[in-house]
Subunit: 432 residues, 2 copies
């Protein structure tokens, strides 16, 4: 028992040491001029490219170990780097240079009757901990986003990517230092025991914000145990509701796009809700288009009856209660016929995850009802849920998609990594 | 053991029941028209006034029990109501009617090259839990702020105020129902066991935001244990730094005001930092003015020497390390002579609580340095820290003063009780 306890203490101290270094660096980062931060981003990219041989060698060792350990091929694909992927990392850093620096932006300015001049200015959050899985590109992405916004990045990747991450961070440090900023602006937690996550997310006073980026299990573990501020990202059980007044020429492409354009991501549709008045006419068309893209359907009894009558039961199964709550992240779509707009909204209220919800209709009043009443980060009228994305929204960068209501909601760009402060000028005012 | 366990389960279920009712009510509140919400605020005030005899009787019982239990007089003073205090509660509700409704406010509007029309609109947070102490006025205040912003208020006051709170909430319910809104818009947690707080702050999915309002102990307990989103309020170890270029005619009134105007609140100053170049000339003047207001001084050795030379050691003691970290909330002020602006900033970095920090100087460059580098919700140049207040900032209401960086910082008005959603209009767009 003592041994375990000592081990935990030692681990906690190791993590705390890194977090304290981050805290020391944060005040320098917070006031770093835009030009210097952009210079650092450029130098970080140059150093990555210069070190590509070392990074690829480290990554090859990670990949070999992952293969040895019998990791699934999809996971190995996310882990593996090549020159093209390193080039993409460099391009990502370059793209950040072009974006406006949110730090220092004046959000509001007002003068009180007593003459106090009050400005609300954006400031960095401070120390931002990113917790993610075996994707070395996230290391560069997170470091770049944090640096551009004057935050210190504490990176906790997974054990499988450790050698890759170490080689990458070594290059990033050189780039940052060349630009005259503290290399502690980007810190890798090199201890990858499971418990390090718990220490990070409970390190009040040392972590200003934690963002988990990864699968549902990781996110749930973080949000359920964190006592530091967290932004919850990622889980999207998104719906497309095809109303009785839908234009089928819009409905079919939207459903097909929302489901099949990239099924593995959080803004993909998982359930199709169809108004009973159009189910008979439209559902067979939609099913054909979806089946042509290889989509399996899990349907309610009414939908099954419609499809059976049209002779379209291949790749179609009855849905169970579980299907309504499932984020398939695959070429599977749940389908339910609903009696009314109200029933569609009630279904979404029950099973939705506050991510992205779509109505397809030409009835303006129905659209207004849906957009107003459905509680989600993004609600759409006649467009695919796939647009819930920082780049598609024009932010030029994306930290993730927030599914919480506090601080940031929906696609998060650079501004969502900032807080603000009030700067007040007086000439001797005191309170009466 | 079984008995304790069953008791805890029963309590948890009782709290969860209330929270589920809150969740059911929140969708109605979220889309309630401004006029109806304002009508409810008016009716709530009328019902409070009509029920004043019953409320005062319930309050008298609470006060008698608190006296019996030997509660300190300051605490009883906060608990006790009279007609004038009920009138103030009604006035508070009336004042909210006049304020603009933040819900539905368009924060941004942009059209993407593909024609998607994206609006960012304010929406309520949902279910807001307020956890507070034996102050029945907070019950009315929190209910009014939540209702105006379309949120459901879950109120967890303290056991000592339970009868008062029950009588108040009974009146509020009648007012809300008269306006045609669900009376579950305001819900009192009537179980006041200590553990109810723990259930509330860990009820993920049932509580959208928790705000502790009270002493440091309560706030720390909430922020250290919560897994639901929390806004941390209240602790203010605020500093006034008097620079070598300070105008003494501003410095003295600012320090006296910041310390003595209302010493028991979070935006009062707790430590005075004085540049060594002006300590000898100005500190004796300041000490006289502060002593005249009854302020006790806890001073560093250099300050003591200056004061001793001026024959001003009455009410002056040497400061210990602990003094720099203490939020006195009383007529006590720590005083330290510093070598430079940098040393003043370093002191604040070490001991400050990110609340409100003041520089008094005529040197614009020094002021800029201070305002830029000091990390606090509000930084002041030549004004008293006492202005950190929702009403003084012109918000017309105040939820509290946030000392965190996430979501809301500094004085919080109505807008800080809201989130936002993106509403997207298309005409059939799909992602390429």
């Amino acid at each position: 028992m003592t041994e375990i306890f000592d081990g935990a203490m030692e681990l906690q101290n190791a993590v705390a040491d890194v977090l304290r270094r981050a805290q020391s660096a944060k005040r320098t980062l917070a006031i770093a001029p835009t030009k210097q931060k952009n210079d650092a981003l450029r130098k970080m990219g140059e150093a990555l490219w210069a070190d590509r041989a070392a990074i690829l060698a480290a990554n090859a060792a990670d990949v070999a170990a992952a293969r040895e350990a019998g990791q699934p091929e999809a996971r190995i694909d996310r882990l593996a780097l090549d020159e093209r992927r390193i080039e993409q990392m460099v391009d990502g850093l370059e793209a950040l240079i072009e974006l406006p620096d949110p730090v220092g932006e004046q959000m509001e300015h007002f003068v009180r009757p007593n003459g106090l001049d009050i400005r609300k200015l954006r400031v960095p959050m401070g120390v931002v901990a990113m917790i993610y899985e075996a994707r070395p590109n996230v290391t560069v992405d997170a470091a770049g986003l944090a640096l551009k916004t004057g935050n210190v990045a504490v990176l906790r990747g997974s054990r499988e990517a450790l050698q890759s991450n170490q080689a990458i961070v070594r290059a990033l440090h050189r780039g940052i230092a060349t630009a005259g900023l503290p290399s502690d602006a980007v810190l890798l937690i090199e201890r990858t025991e499971r418990e390090t996550v718990d220490f990070i997310i409970r390190a009040r006073g040392l972590v200003d914000l934690a963002i988990p980026r990864g699968g549902e299990g990781l996110i749930r573990r973080v949000v359920e145990n964190a006592t530091v501020p967290v932004i919850e990202t990622g889980v999207g059980n998104c719906h497309v509701y095809v109303d009785k007044e839908a234009d089928f020429a819009k409905a079919t492409p939207i459903v097909v796009n929302a489901k099949t354009h990239r099924p593995s991501v959080c803004n993909a549709a998982e359930t199709l809700l169809v108004h009973q008045d159009v189910a008979k006419v439209w559902l067979p068309q939609a099913a054909k288009a979806l089946r042509a893209k290889g989509v399996e359907l899990r349907v309610c009894e009414r939908a099954y009856a419609v499809l059976a009558e049209a002779g379209l039961t291949d790749g179609v199964e009855y849905a169970t209660e579980e299907d309504w709550a499932t984020e398939y992240l695959a070429l599977t779509l749940a389908v339910r016929v609903v009696d009314s707009l109200n029933d569609a909204i009630a279904h979404i209220e029950r099973y939705g995850t506050l991510h992205s919800e779509v109505i397809v209709t030409e009835d303006e009043a129905a659209a207004q009802q849906f957009l107003r009443r459905v509680d989600a980060a993004v609600v759409y009228h006649n467009a695919s849920s796939r647009f819930t994305d920082g780049f598609e929204f024009g932010f030029g960068a994306e930290i993730g998609i927030s599914t919480q209501k506090m601080h940031a909601r929906g696609p998060m760009g650079l501004r969502e990594l900032t807080s603000y402060k009030y700067v007040v000028h007086g000439d001797g005012q005191v309170r009466k």
